[in-house]
């Protein structure tokens, strides 16, 4: 299997692993932003798809969080409570997704050095691929939740629109 195919496979494996977290974050986004702020989610998706740097995505999340009260809303899921949506998303991408990048770029899988420029560039690319996957999954859940309600996939999509 060539290297590019290996990368696609490893990113897909990781995407399966974080699917439930993306679902939870998508529900949080729906609760916090409601259906009338859809443009902010598609804006985030567009930034992630077009970014050359992960820091552009983090800066965007920080700016949205500072600017809009909706991005700072918390969320309760079962017995678990989460703080600000924006900070939760930023922390997840900077910690959990970065950890997954380190795993697949490590010596046991893709073996990309973080000492050489080429290795660093590959690690940056893989980080972007993982973030894009996560955000796509999250936005899909967001769309589903605002359309069909929260949690169980039932209810009125307009119920929580603010």
């Amino acid at each position: 299997m060539n290297q590019e195919m290996k990368i696609v496979r490893e990113v897909s494996v990781q995407a399966e692993g974080f699917y439930s977290d993306a679902e939870s974050m998508g529900k949080h986004a729906a609760e916090a932003l409601g259906g009338k702020r859809r443009a902010q989610m598609t804006g985030l998706e567009n930034i992630a798809e077009g970014a050359f740097k992960t820091s552009d995505i983090f800066d965007y999340i920080k700016k949205q969080t500072a600017r809009f009260e909706e991005w700072r809303r918390g969320y309760t899921e079962g017995d678990q409570s989460y703080g600000s949506f924006g900070l939760r998303l930023k922390d997840y991408l900077e910690r959990n997704i970065a950890g997954r990048r380190d795993t697949i770029c490590g010596p046991n899988i893709l073996n990309f050095s973080n000492q050489t420029e080429e290795g660093k560039r590959e690690r940056q690319r893989i980080y972007l691929l993982l973030i894009r996957q996560f955000i796509r999954q999250m936005v899909a859940q967001y769309e589903f939740s605002v359309k069909f309600g929260f949690g169980e996939g039932t209810g009125d999509g307009n119920r929580r629109q603010r």
């Binding site: 050359f52 820091s55 983090f58 800066d59 920080k62 700016k63 969080t65 500072a66 700072r72 940056q124």
Partner: protein
């Protein structure tokens, strides 16, 4: 003939700029972004810095887009040297630290720590051109982080 030479020079300049931009994109994620986050955190921890006010954010952002590094550096020094009242101590603290950071970044650039000066005849001129790109990235990360910092400070101030 002169036009051919000029076209070639422009093409070379463009190629060089694209190569720099590619490297700066990587440095932005690996060095400048974490550097900006820890820069502000250090000010909070060591200088009781709150956050840069919005009027300063807009001014700094605007000057960071200048194509001349000297415009940005002169602005930072000017803001640092102004006689700020005690109520605006944070502004002086911020620009004092930023001037130091940029000066150190410039020294690193001249030492070619970023590996961007290879093949350059006029390294001082090239370093200034590279600093435009590096400082712009750094300041954009700083301002995004400052937005979050301002949120943490707001409830403290309103108490």
């Amino acid at each position: 003939m002169a036009t051919d030479d000029s076209d070639n020079a422009q093409r070379e300049q463009l190629k060089k700029l694209q190569a720099w931009q590619r490297k700066v994109q990587l440095l932005s994620d690996t060095e400048l972004y974490p550097g900006a986050v820890s820069f502000l955190q250090k000010l909070v921890d060591e200088e009781e810095f709150s956050a840069l006010p919005n009027s300063q954010v807009a001014g700094l952002f605007s000057v960071s887009l200048s194509p001349k590094y000297s415009d940005l550096y002169d602005f930072v020094k000017h803001q640092r040297d102004r006689n700020w009242p005690e109520s605006k101590r944070d502004i002086k603290t911020f620009y004092t630290a930023l001037e130091r950071y940029l000066a150190e970044m410039h020294r690193r650039c001249l030492r070619d720590d970023f590996h961007l000066l290879e093949g350059e005849r006029d390294t001082r001129q090239a370093a200034n051109e590279i600093m435009v790109l590096l400082a712009r990235e750094f300041i954009q990360h700083l301002l995004a982080e400052n937005g979050l910092l301002a949120l943490r400070v707001r409830p403290r101030r309103s108490r």
